[in-house]
């Protein structure tokens, strides 16, 4: 069953730039979808249209029977709480503690006075502790977010998104500011969280190799249009050229593979694959 359905989604910015042009696809439950494409292809705009951080200018987005494009006010907030989001630079509130950051995933569910006094229900709190344990940060809950390392911050970001009990996960360049090993751990964590919950995810990602390794399906975006939609194995040189433009892909692949092998003992890139 398809959880998310985009139909002819379009976005033209006030400046006249077309970021998305009639993008249509469907995401079934539990599918981890990798969204690749050159910078400025509209990947970020696409996922921000889904939770309406960016207003789409045309088309429809249906999440479990609700058309997200028409929602306003309270209804929009009710819809947003069903969609978890993980950000490129983590986007944690730096001066709040790890626990407050995770609990902020419940903001769409609790009244203002409860969130103001940090009086969350027992279920919310035990859920937060269990998520922190799952991402391997069970001892850090009272630390301030800015005291953590990059990889730890992204784990808190994942816990915050999962604390929402989401029906869909939007992930914007989760590994862009992380080292290769941490990137893999984060991708693996997102993948396993989705499989456990049968949760669909859309992951914007620059790194084609990571996308191939950790996603079930790839959509290639170029200049706001879908130019490829298929399994990760289908990313041939011809397809990559269609998405990114002319480049000697065999050479890139060769170099990557060589680099991987020579660095394996030091960085342990292949850890747990």
């Amino acid at each position: 069953m398809n959880v998310l359905k985009l139909d002819k989604l379009s976005k033209t910015y006030a400046t006249g730039d077309t970021a998305l042009n009639h993008v249509s696809f469907e995401v079934p439950a539990g599918q981890v979808l990798g969204l690749i494409g050159p910078s400025g292809a509209g990947k970020s705009t696409l996922i921000r249209c889904i939770n309406r951080l960016v207003e789409p200018t045309g088309g429809s987005i249906t999440l479990g029977g609700t058309d997200l494009v028409r929602l306003r006010g309270t209804a929009l907030r009710r819809a947003r709480r069903r969609i978890g989001m993980i950000f490129q630079e983590y986007a944690l509130v730096e001066r709040l503690t790890v626990m407050e950051n995770v609990l902020s995933g419940r903001l769409g569910y609790v009244p203002v006075w409860r969130s103001f006094l940090r009086r969350y229900s027992a279920e919310d709190i035990s859920k937060a502790f269990s998520l922190l344990e799952q991402v391997g940060l069970s001892q850090q809950y009272n630390k301030r977010a800015d005291a953590l390392s990059g990889g730890q911050r992204q784990r808190v970001g994942i816990a915050r998104a999962l604390e929402q009990d989401p029906e869909l996960l939007l992930v914007d360049e989760p590994t862009a500011s992380l080292d290769p090993k941490t990137s893999r751990q984060i991708m693996r964590l997102i993948g396993s969280a989705c499989r456990e919950r049968d949760l669909p995810a859309i992951i914007n990602i620059h790194d084609v190799m990571l996308a191939q390794q950790f996603t079930d399906r790839i959509i290639g975006l170029r200049a706001g249009e879908v130019v490829f939609d298929g399994p990760p194995g289908g990313l041939t040189d011809e397809v990559l050229t269609r998405i990114y433009g002319d480049e000697d892909w065999t050479q890139m692949r060769g170099e990557e593979a060589e680099g991987d092998e020579s660095r394996t003992p030091a960085v342990d890139l292949a850890d747990g694959i």
Binding site: E94, L96, S104, G105
Partner: protein, 273 residues
């Protein structure tokens, strides 16, 4: 590996930063020369009565003598009453000022407030900032009579312009991704303010409030001269009676209190970081 020998002939060897402001060389020189000539002429128009300066030196010296031999005891009763009045005025007006400026500051931040509220709050700030404390004090003394109540209102009113403007600017400079992340959880406007904005601006708000406390104490010594009560009134009386030793004592106390506020505020600011 042999590198080709440098051939300086094909590339220019001199470079100057392009002028930003007046790009035409002739005009630039004319404008600078004109400004210089105006400065000379303006300086010549200042009339200095050296004989009056010579007479004044004598009175100035008496003031310095009083400062060197301060008399705390003769007028201690008046000084004490003035100080208590001033400190009360300072504290109450700062607290009132902070309480009013927080909502106005939030309203004057373009990233949080809709246009009509933004314009109204900016209007209040401009109104408060366009009048100097003494002018407000003269008006309020005329309205509410001599005494500390007029002083309290003056300082509170002046604090609003100062604190709201700087708070609004700090809110506008907030990290957008943190606000976006909290909005993405389905948080309401109040929850966004509480979870994403407040943690980011709190240290600055505390710092500004303490700085304003300091300013309000110093201003309370000035507005007393136009009848708004406090230590300024005592100081004015002492100067009118040519009691420069008592005036010196008052000034020393003011300096000491400002120093204490300065040191304690830098300590508190470090603590709230």
């Amino acid at each position: 590996m042999d590198s080709p020998s440098p051939r300086p002939s094909i590339h220019p060897v001199s470079w100057k930063r392009q002028p930003v402001l007046f790009t035409h060389t002739g005009w630039r020189r004319a404008i600078y020369a004109g400004a210089f000539i105006y400065l000379i002429l303006a300086m010549q128009s200042i009339e200095v009565d050296w004989q009056r300066v010579y007479l004044g030196l004598d009175r100035g010296w008496k003031f310095v003598e009083g400062f060197l031999l301060p008399d705390f005891t003769t007028r201690w009763h008046d000084i004490r009453a003035g100080l208590i009045e001033s400190l009360t005025m300072t504290l109450t007006s700062t607290v009132a000022g902070v309480l009013v400026s927080v909502p106005i500051g939030i309203g004057a931040a373009r990233n949080l407030a809709p246009m009509p509220i933004y314009l109204a709050c900016r209007g209040i700030i401009t109104l408060s900032r366009s009048f100097q404390e003494i002018i407000i004090a003269i008006l309020l003394v005329a309205m509410f009579g001599f005494g500390p109540f007029a002083g309290f209102l003056t300082l509170a009113f002046a604090s609003i312009g100062f604190l709201s403007k700087l708070l609004a600017e700090d809110i506008e400079a907030c990290d957008r991704s943190q606000i976006e992340a909290i909005r993405a959880t389905g948080a309401s406007w109040w929850q966004v303010v509480n979870y994403a904005v407040q943690p980011q601006v709190m240290p600055r708000l505390v710092g500004l409030s303490l700085y304003r406390l300091d300013i309000n104490f110093r201003e309370s010594a000035v507005i007393g001269i136009v009848g708004a009560g406090g230590i300024g009134a005592t100081l004015n009386t002492a100067i009118d009676r040519y009691e420069y030793d008592s005036a010196g004592a008052i000034l020393i106390i003011v300096i000491a209190i400002v120093l204490v506020v300065e040191y304690s505020s830098s300590y508190i600011r470090r603590w709230v970081q």
